[in-house]
């Protein structure tokens, strides 16, 4: 057995590990840069040191997690999930807000340390969905077959929505869809499941909604689901499309602005659109080569909000530019996602495969939503960028998920040697 095989046996996917370590160290450097302000902020000045501490803790956790057999994770999925749900319920009572989530109850203050339970609940939900979906003899064939995974994903989603933390809810949604997809659920059924969301968005235009409904009917005829299933899907779509407009009209103008502002930040440039405008200005001003590490003026002058947490990508864009900053980071994330898919693909164990792909879904959502919100492609929901954003509990939860994925890869290696 060569060195490569030994590494794979103990650490899973060394390439993935290398990419993550590289990104994490880069993240520490960027957190260090992000807190260098012309008028120092004592509250954030030491953030990079804390990030180093959390990285060390996370690496230790990774080393532990990667040694635990995958089967154990299947066993601990239920208690982890239950504990996570209890923690989420606790946040609704004693939770506090921080950063861009200042107005939420996402955090539990444990003495000097604040923990965001929803980050760990993400991992627990992935494990629980893996257990529920992987334990089936065959993939879901009907919407009725989805009651258990819907319940597993819906409960934490509902609780984080109550906090309210839209970003984490979106990530849980992505995890839910990803695990269903990897469990072998037919694409048509997945489409039927998600179609009411599509109806909700398309109902902004009567023409679009009418065409969509015609297409849906055509799809149901060709796909030939159960009659009750077709009727239910059609009815739910119709209801979703019908209530959307009155629901929208019932909102106050400022509430509409908050939702529309990512499409047009000038609607509220000093309020809801401020963060997006500043982020776009910062990234745009970085240009091709950036302003230089530590020299981002938008950052130094504190125009960038939450620059070391949710908007760390804007700092990267401003200081390192397109060629040296944003493109390499996106490529590295692309490689990480590719390795995760490979791990899921190679895994013979349905639970392990679904868990690995669930992690792919969660990280993909984090990357796409976080980067997208910094340039106005997505609404600002306040979710961090894996391995780069400052945040102890998120870094630890991400490394826990990485450890599980690496263990899945390691067991595959062991089974093939």
């Amino acid at each position: 057995m060569g060195l490569s095989d030994r590494l794979k046996k103990h650490f899973g996917d060394p390439f993935l590990l290398g990419l993550v370590l590289l990104l994490s160290l880069f993240g520490v450097a960027m957190v260090y840069s992000a807190v260098q302000l012309d008028v120092p902020n004592p509250a954030t000045a030491g953030a990079w040191r804390m990030q180093v501490v959390w990285l060390v803790i996370s690496l230790i956790a990774l080393a532990v997690v990667v040694r635990i057999p995958v089967q154990w994770y299947e066993w601990i999925a239920i208690p982890a999930y239950v504990i996570g749900i209890i923690a989420l319920m606790a946040t609704l009572v004693i939770g506090v807000g921080r950063g861009t989530a200042e107005g939420t109850k996402s955090w539990l203050a444990l003495g000097p340390i604040a923990v965001q339970p929803s980050q760990f609940v993400n991992v627990a939900t992935i494990l629980m969905l893996g257990r529920v979906l992987g334990g089936r003899r065959e993939p879901p064939r009907s919407i009725l077959d989805l009651w258990a995974p819907v319940l597993v994903a819906g409960l934490p989603m509902g609780l984080v929505m109550l906090q309210p933390d839209l970003g984490t809810a979106m990530v849980l949604g992505a995890v839910f869809v990803a695990t269903l997809f990897w469990s072998g659920m037919p694409l048509g059924l997945l489409f039927m499941l998600l179609s009411p969301l599509l109806a909700l968005f398309l109902s902004v235009s009567t023409w679009l909604f009418s065409i969509y409904m015609l297409g849906l009917v055509l799809f149901l005829i060709l796909y030939r689901p159960y009659l009750w299933e077709a009727i239910t899907v059609g009815a739910v779509n119709l209801i979703a499309g019908t209530i959307a407009v009155p629901l929208w009209n019932s909102l106050e103008q400022y509430q509409k602005n908050r939702l529309l502002v990512f499409l047009d930040p000038s609607l509220d440039p000093r309020g809801a659109g401020y963060q997006l405008i500043q982020s776009q200005v910062a990234i745009g001003s970085g240009g091709l080569m950036g302003k230089g590490f530590g020299d981002g003026t938008q950052k130094r002058l504190a125009f960038l909000p939450e620059q070391h947490t949710d908007f760390i990508f804007s700092v990267i864009g401003e200081e390192l530019g397109f060629l040296l900053g944003t493109v390499p980071v996106i490529i590295v994330f692309g490689l990480i996602l590719w390795r995760l898919v490979r791990i899921a693909e190679r895994s013979a164990d349905p639970f392990a495969g679904i868990v690995a792909f669930g992690i792919f879904g969660a990280w993909f959502a984090h990357v796409f939503v976080n980067v997208g919100m910094t340039i106005g492609l997505m609404p600002i929901t306040g979710i961090p960028l894996p391995f780069l954003s400052y945040g102890g509990s998120f870094l630890l939860a991400t490394f826990l998920a990485l450890g599980i994925a690496q263990r899945v890869a390691a067991e595959h290696t062991r089974s093939t040697i």
Binding site: L37, D38, V39, E138, P139, R141, A178, F181, W182, G184, M185, P186, L187, G188, L189, Y223, R224, P225, Y226, R270, Q278, Q280, V281, A282, I283, G284, S285, G286, G287, L288, T297, Q298, R300, L301, A302, F303, G317, G321, F322, T326, V327, I330, F333, G334, L337, W338, V341, A344, E345, G353, F357, F360, F364, V367, F368, V371, G372, I375, G376, L377
Partner: protein
């Protein structure tokens, strides 16, 4: 239903990777557009850089001896830089407390913050103590700059305000430039300050400060080069600072709180030596009040008699011969009775006697003889319906009909011989400013062609008319000398030993308080200066003559020492 197809893991992986690839490609394309195609350097700079105006030192206004009447002196100003409205509102409230200023009304704050973002000057001319008060509260006062800022200082404690004018903020008149500079630099609002605004104001400069998002100034002059201000040019005037002070003092003493105006002009050169006023227009804090010297028109009454006398002499009137109708307190013409100011009547007077006594009845008859057109022509030649062009923006034209058609259009009735009668007596449609009447008397009393009024040193202007008939002019002058001579109505002016001649508005008997207006010339052995004084609530008709005589005495004593005839 048919059995739905389940994708094998390889295809699932391909689909997932394809989706991820497309999503990341979308992000890259959006980033390429944001960072490379659009860029954002300009927007970023706009976010953090604030333009701070550097006011130009306004040029000084100097008197004829180079002494400053108005100058820019070092001072400090507190500026508010552009920021969100609520932020500025809070800072402005904190600032007014720090500077112990009266609270600013919400509507005023809104008006300040309306329009394009621009710096706002909250207070200027601050002492070091007040600057220190702001600096002590610096951490709480974001978006605030304390800048060296020239302050306008006026000599004579504002005694020259009616002529020098004042400066102040006037955004309505000034178009704002891109940096809003003109919004914060004071502009001339009245007097010479306004008339010579372009020359005095100079060109404001700009510097740029870098601010953080919280409104703290991080550094200065690092983003863009400083545009240095160019100071304005000085303006040398014909005014005499000492005489100005003296005239203002005498006028203020005589007028008290009521409105008054006075002017002294060199009869040969037309140079205005002093222009003083009391009342609202004299205050540097009051805008819009008419200037009593160039903006207020008063009925000329007996002051117009010399003009009629000159015209009558030129028309061949025998100066020794009394008027056909002796004055018995008035005269009937047509169905109207025209009163003389002296209800007791003057009796039969010749021209010199009529001028000395100010007999309206004599000049009514002269007017009837001359006819309306001769009077209108004289009025036009003297510019009685025009501005003198002295160079003060507050100047108003006099009221005098330029033509018979004008009378019909303005009054609705046609001119009659009675119109000439009234004009000849200085009544009816004849109201003039002090400035204009000085020009009229300069024409009447000067030895040669009088010069038009000028305020800026080096300028000169010819009068519109100078009578050809020197003998008639000397005859009128001699008659007017009798007015200021001992026993004359304005004897108070002539008792100091100087050569003098003039006329004053006579009051009807029984008048206790009214406008006292005197116009006359003074000199050592002939006319050198023309002086006019008008007191709108005087206690005697010769009160103005007394002030004029005192001012002329002060000036002539400084110029000549003692009168040629020996003073008292």
């Amino acid at each position: 239903m048919d059995e739905p197809r389940t994708l094998p893991p390889e295809r699932r992986a391909r689909y997932a990777l394809g989706l991820a690839f497309l999503a990341l490609l979308l992000l890259l394309l959006a980033l390429f557009r944001t960072q490379v195609v659009r860029g954002g350097g300009g927007a970023a700079a706009d976010e953090r850089v604030r333009a701070v105006p550097l006011p130009a030192a306004r040029g000084a206004i100097l008197d004829r001896h180079g002494e400053p009447l108005a100058e820019s002196v070092p001072g400090y100003a507190v500026l508010l830089l552009p920021a969100p409205r609520d932020t500025l509102r809070a800072v402005l409230t904190a600032l007014t407390e720090a500077l112990a200023l009266p609270p600013v009304a919400d509507a005023r704050i809104d008006s300040l913050l309306d329009g394009p973002p621009r710096p706002i000057v909250v207070a200027r001319g601050l002492s070091m103590e007040r600057v220190a008060a702001v600096e002590e509260r610096r951490p709480a006062l974001r978006h605030v700059l304390v800048e060296p800022w020239p302050t306008r200082s006026y000599a004579l404690d504002g005694a020259a305000a009616p002529v020098v004018g004042r400066v102040g903020a006037n955004p309505a008149r000034e178009p704002a430039d891109a940096a809003g500079v003109s919004r914060v630099q004071y502009v001339g609002l009245s007097g010479l300050e306004r008339e010579h605004e372009q020359r005095l104001r100079g060109t404001a400069g700009l510097r740029y400060v870098r601010m953080d998002a919280r409104g703290s100034v991080v550094s200065a002059g690092v983003e863009r080069p400083v545009v240095p201000p160019r100071p304005g040019s000085d303006l040398a005037t014909t005014l005499d600072r000492g005489l100005q002070r003296q005239l203002a003092s005498l006028l203020s003493e005589a007028a008290g709180p009521s409105t008054a105006g006075a002017l002294i002009q060199d009869i040969a050169t037309g140079e205005v030596l002093a222009l003083a006023a009391t009342g609202d227009s004299a205050s540097t804090d009051t805008a819009g009040a008419p200037n009593p010297v160039v903006g207020t028109r008063r009925p000329t009454a007996t002051l117009f008699h010399p003009v009629t006398a000159l015209l009558a002499l030129e028309d061949g009137v025998d100066p020794q011969r009394p008027a056909a109708v002796p004055c018995r307190g008035g005269m009937r013409y047509g169905h109207r009775y025209f009163r003389c100011w002296n209800g007791g009547g003057h009796g039969a007077l010749d021209l010199a006697g009529a001028l000395e006594a100010g007999c309206d009845v004599y000049f009514y008859q002269a007017g009837l003889r001359l006819g309306l057109q001769a009077l209108l022509d004289a009025g036009s030649r003297l510019g009685l319906h025009r501005r003198t062009g002295v160079g003060l923006p507050e100047e108003r034209p006099g009221l005098f009909p330029p033509s018979a058609e004008w009378i019909r259009e303005e009054t609705g009735w046609s001119a009659t011989p009675a119109t000439a009668l009234e004009l000849a007596g200085g009544r009816g449609l004849d109201r003039q400013t002090l400035m204009r009447m000085v020009q009229v008397y300069a024409v009447l009393l000067s030895d040669s062609a009088a010069a038009g009024p000028v305020l800026v040193a080096g300028e000169s202007r010819a009068t519109e008319w100078s009578p050809d008939d020197r003998e008639s002019r000397l005859r009128v002058r001699e008659a007017l000398r009798r007015v200021t001579a001992p026993g004359g109505a304005a004897a108070v002016t002539g008792d100091r030993g100087w050569w003098s001649a003039g006329q004053l508005v006579r009051w009807r008997s029984g008048t206790r308080r009214g406008t006292s207006w005197f116009v006359g010339a003074f000199g050592r052995s002939g006319p050198e200066i023309v002086v006019t004084v008008a007191l709108d609530a005087a206690a005697s008709q010769d009160a103005a003559a007394r002030v004029a005589g005192a001012a002329a005495d002060w000036y002539l004593r400084r110029r000549h020492g003692t009168p040629a005839t020996g003073g008292p």
